[in-house]
Amino acid sequence: MRNVILQVDNLKQYFRIDRHTTTRAVDNVSFKVYEGEIFSVVGESGSGKSTLGRSLIRIYDANAGEVTFLGKKITGKLNSETTRFLRKNMQMIFQDPMASLNPRKKVLDTVAFGLDVAKEVKTKEERKQRVIEVLKSVGLSEDHIARYPHMFSGGQRQRIGVARALVMDPKFIIADEIISALDVSIQAQVINLMRKIQKEKGLTLMFIAHDLSMVRYISDRVAVMHLGHIVEMGTVEDIYEHPLHPYTKSLLSAIPHPDPDSEKLRKRVLYHKQNIDYNHGQIQSLNDTHTVLATKEELDAWQKGDYSDILVQM
């Protein structure tokens, strides 16, 4: 039996645009993350995947729902002890490494900021040692501590972002599109680094991304998000080999491959959202690990392979 590190129940995150419109960025989302796994959330832009991550780490205040992290409730009003506990054990890495690093701070101070706030270190020397240690673990060197972010390349900046998250020695890291701003060759470096760190430290990782091939490569379990709902969730095999939800199918059909001959034959399928209402669906279990959001009728039809009105071959 694996330990649940994070349990999310019916989380809702709404944004009021004006009197008439409210954006339901995350709508009734429930899932569990197990200790030591890499859990990925995929979806197109606007699906609410980044909002979900930000709500979990309390950048936003969720409208409803309950989140339990390592046995402690982290939604609603938090006392200072729980806040400190949350800040120490859950960390986030952001998409744009340039925008998320303060250009006027040296790497040493950026990375050590968490330590300073949490009063984790007593002396200057200890502070420096902690930073050097963590920089080395992400493939940077001791000389880098006195430099400013603009003196680094994109891949190196993202490593600083990783170091900043790691310095607190967290149990859980949310990585929000950490590779999409990077070149392909550098993407592979950062991904291999994340895998290495995850293995060494036994971290749990929530990986938010839109690149389905990278997600397949790195994850243990995957949740597919669309319009604020998790429409399908399961192991990598469930999602990539036996997708059931039409949205998952259309996403998978859009992945390009470095293979000209098969690309010429690839048929993309179009997804007609207007014919489904996610609010009517319930979470249906297909097996121990694989769930899909659907009504009874939809589930029956899909299992028979009937996707008429919803999926159209191009």
Binding site: E44, S45, G46, S153, G154, G155, Q156, D183, V184, S185, I186, Q187, A188, Q189, I191, N192, H210, D211, L212, S213, M214, R216, Y217, V236, Y240, S250, L251, A254, I255, P256, H257, P258, D259, P260, D261, S262, E263, K264, L265, R266, R268, M314
Partner: protein
């Protein structure tokens, strides 16, 4: 009879004057583009792929200069064949005859390439009216509606009165494409047109570009950093590294029979969709600084296949087939036999096998 290429770049060298030195961004590259074909230029940031195409239209910044090189462009004006060197003719000539009219660009970020204060309809019409492609405004509106339909925007009558911020990312990029097509150009340069978009929209835009090429016969230069994206659209591929073209060939030759270690690296850093546990091989390190370009092969410093000569002298282009060339000393007859990483070879074999089955 063999047709002359529509665009021919020869021995181009570009450098930028910076406070602390001269940055040699483009170091002697040559390529050509045939009528109606798609050439993909692939390379990571800083390899010089965008600068190359910008220089063709005279769009490089003031501190940049074309040191050597020519770029022949062949087009027809009023039924007369004209051949010009785009790098020699002045900016006025380019603005009047070439930009937007004969060669158009689609930029990466649709939000910054559109004017936020102008309705999209007016932005599409601007070029047509400027280059006198239409007689009057009424005709321009009609043509704009046709264009919006061509790029797959529903309800064009409503859309031409909207502003860019009222459209989604994918829609905006479609508008940018419509602007580029407004004057029926002979050459379309697509500079990372899908990098800012997600997978579904990306494949829609790629299909759209292919479709338009089928309908209008426009020749396309497709710039990207992701080899995985262009397998579907490219007829030929040129791989750039540190201001040089290191490998060029037909798409099938590059994907199924890559010869340069950098191309191997690019292909193996794309995770494959079949095996999960295979490792993705990353290319270690970062591209070199071109203010002091490294002696010899610039990629040698990141390559495990580098030989002593790579640090001494830059390799010439070795010919592999009529269309396939690569600049790597590994192809020299005296070089030791080295083959691509086994992971990559296995993947290519799998692709080929699947191709045979179908």
């Amino acid at each position: 009879m063999e047709q002359k290429p529509i665009l021919e770049v020869k021995n181009l060298q570009i450098s930028f004057q910076l406070n602390f030195g001269v940055n040699h961004v483009i170091r002697d590259i040559s390529f050509f583009l045939n009528k109606g074909e798609t050439l993909a230029i692939v390379g990571e940031s800083g390899s010089g792929k965008s600068v190359t195409t910008k220089s063709i239209l005279g769009l490089i910044d003031d501190n940049g200069a074309v040191e050597v090189g020519s770029c022949l462009f062949r087009y027809q004006k009023d039924g007369v064949d004209i051949e010009v060197d785009l790098l020699k003719c002045g900016k006025d000539y380019l603005q009047k005859n070439i930009r937007g009219n004969k060669i158009a660009i689609i930029f990466q970020d649709p939000m910054t390439s559109l004017d936020p204060t102008m309705k999209v309809g007016n932005q599409i019409m601007e070029g047509m009216l400027d280059h006198k492609k239409v007689k009057n405004r009424k005709e321009a509106v009609k043509r704009t509606l046709e264009l919006l339909e061509l790029v797959g925007i529903d309800n064009p009558e409503k859309r031409i009165k909207q502003y860019p911020h009222q459209l989604s990312g994918g829609m905006r990029q479609r508008v940018v494409i419509a602007i580029a097509l407004a004057c029926e150009p002979d050459v379309l340069i697509a500079d990372e047109p899908t990098t800012a978009l997600d997978v579904t929209i990306q494949s829609q835009i790629l299909e759209l570009i292919k479709d338009i090429q089928k309908k209008t016969g426009v020749a396309i230069i497709f710039i990207t950093h992701d080899l995985g994206v262009v397998a579907n659209v490219a007829d030929r591929v040129a791989v750039m590294y540190a201001g040089k073209i290191v490998e060029t060939g037909l798409a099938r030759e590059i994907y199924y029979n890559p010869k340069h270690p950098y191309t191997w690296g690019l292909l193996s850093s794309i995770p494959s969709m079949s095996g999960q546990n295979e490792e993705i091989l990353s290319i270690p390190g970062t591209p070199p600084n071109l203010i002091q370009p490294p002696k010899g092969d610039a990629f040698a410093y990141r390559s495990e296949y580098a030989m002593a000569i790579d640090f001494e002298e830059h390799p010439p282009m070795f010919q592999i087939s009529d269309t396939h060339f690569a600049a790597s000393w590994l192809l020299h007859p005296d070089a030791p036999k080295v083959s691509m990483p086994s992971v990559l070879q296995a993947r290519i074999d799998a692709y080929k096998k699947r191709g045979d089955d179908q």
